[in-house]
Subunit: 336 residues, 2 copies
DNA sequence: TTGTATGCGTTATCAG
DNA sequence: CTGATAACGCATACAA
């Protein structure tokens, strides 16, 4: 019934239906349409209805951009994570969202799904939609810079940076406690499953540093690299145990691989912790589901989210907060 | 140095720094600033640098709204879930994000954190920032309507609606398979742990329907209501077992409560599945961590996300897709 | 290389 | 009750 008349210059692009289109269709001014749409009082119920009908007919949707331009704009923070399905992130996301809610802000979550190339693209596209970015990124500052265009960024974990906000995690305290405990229990032949890690101090280095500090000699053959997943953990453990049948304890890069190791151990007929003690890292709640539950270097993920938002806040307000360093502690469950 | 001159009517609000401010500070036109900011070629490297400096100095950030207004705008879909930390959602979120990526769209995730009142507020605030909404909502269409202002909405699961897009889950097929299996194994005294559920057909009703269909008489005392969490599952199981020590199998409202039941059973010295068989619902991957792993009515959560996005697509393009109904099947692991 | 003018879709102001 | 008209902040032809 309603015809899209005149102008529409190009003719190629579908042309979004606008307030004016509705106005034309309803035979009123665009201003009246605005009033109808926004439920303003000063309008004849009759015209109001007519306008609303026309709007529905034309499938009119107000442009959030035009609105944002006029109304006081809401702060929106983008959060980039490598993989939503990784159980490490949900809690962190919760922390970020909570911290945002407190400030009346919004959070846009994007996931690269492990696609390292997609990361930069996501930084770009998400970046132009938000006021600041929080990201678990694999690229360096230099690589990131051209895509940022001055957008405030907070880099999380495993990433060094002087140019941006930072929330880092120091696994050493928890790891130290864990190793001390193991040593106290007589463990000496301790292996580690490491994972690839583009930026920042690797956990392998932490492990090395702490074992050395505690007077444990660990050569490279005790550290095996695995994929960051349960399957990766299983494979790595099998490998490690094959190489060193005498091992009595294994540290996992994180809980995911530690759980993989747990399962591999089980399959090999090893009792945890009697035949082989296990220590994860992250302190995921799912570790509790194992029997015995997985001991782990606990990271307060919700807190991480809050700290990240504090960094954002500082960046946005022009008074940057000092880089945050989150400590860790041993979460003593049953796997050693 | 830079004075905010003239107009600026109100004078109260902090006034966002704009292109013009930078232009004034750098002594060029706002156009030149735009070129500098956007890395356009046609500009003297010197002025460029001067402008960039001024921009940094004034902490200039381009308005994403103004930009969106001018550039081809990217479709953004809001996703509202009750609780990010609930392991049911991450996979679904992944599905939604994937489906969005395929279309070159973005996803904004919001979580009500179980706050039922906050739900409406979130619908409002998130709603005005996106082109469409996907939501696990507890409110009825009528309650939602005034906050939607015509925004396309897709309601997920446990929610009836004629006014919006719908993705529903039919647990019956999987539940039927599960019960058939249990019955074949000789189970007759089967209990269920139910959870509160504002909208849609309750799983309790499903359970009733299927047991009846299979010729099993189940009176109310075999159905116990629990909180939707592991702790709730534990309490409910304890309660149920106390009431009916003769029970041989329990169906959980979802995997979370089923896992709780599992733990409670363990604590009571019951072997799963020998002393009590267990069946969950959702098919969460964490069910695999139990020993024996949790059997469950499997729901393809990634697929749910895709279906939701298909609904959105239909709504946005003006050719609504028929309501989606996702089937289920028995995921046979070890807990029965 | 740089500046001027115009339009994007809305809401707000102030006339009629 | 309704309709012009002016912002909002930015980008993009077009002119200088």
């Amino acid at each position: 019934m309603v015809k899209k008349t005149q102008d529409s210059g190009a003719g190629s692009t579908p042309q979004r239906t606008t307030l004016k289109d509705v106005a034309r269709a309803a035979g009123v001014s665009h201003q009246t349409v605005s009033r109808a749409i926004n439920n303003k009082g000063e309008i004849d119920p009759l015209t109001r209805q007519r306008v609303l009908d026309a709007a529905r007919e034309l499938r009119y949707r107000p442009s959030r951009f035009a609105r944002g331009l006029v109304r006081p704009d809401m702060t929106t923070v983008g959060l980039i994570i490598p993989d939503v399905a990784n159980p490490f992130y949900p809690e962190l996301i919760a922390g970020v969202i909570e911290a945002a809610n407190v400030r009346g802000w919004q959070v846009v979550v994007g996931s690269t799904q492990g696609d390292r190339d997609g990361e930069l693209a996501l930084v770009r596209s998400l970046g132009r939609q938000v006021d600041a970015l929080i990201g678990f990124l694999t690229h360096t500052d230099a690589e990131l810079a051209p895509h940022l265009e001055g957008l405030p960024l907070v880099v999380m974990d495993r990433h060094q940076s002087t140019a941006h906000g930072v929330v880092d995690v120091d696994v050493r305290p928890g790891l130290r406690q864990g190793l001390q405990h193991l040593i106290a229990r007589g463990h000496r032949r301790i292996g580690m499953i490491d994972c690839a890690n583009e930026c920042g101090e690797s956990r392998r280095d932490c492990f090395r540093a702490v074992t050395e500090e505690l007077g444990l000699a660990v050569d490279n053959s005790w550290i095996v690299l695995g994929e960051e997943s349960m399957a990766g953990g299983e494979a790595a453990f099998t490998d490690l145990r094959h190489r060193h049948p005498e091992l009595t304890a294994v540290i996992g890069y994180n809980d995911l691989v530690a759980i993989g190791a747990f399962r591999a151990a089980r399959r090999m007929g090893l009792a945890v912790p009697q035949d082989c003690a296990l220590l994860g890292c992250d302190g995921l709640s799912i570790g509790e589901l194992l029997d015995p539950p997985l001991s782990s270097v606990y990271i307060d993920k919700r807190r991480m989210g809050q700290l990240a938002m504090d960094q954002v806040d500082g960046l946005l307000s022009g008074t940057p907060t000092a880089p945050a360093l989150l400590g860790t502690e041993l979460l003593h469950r049953g796997s050693f």
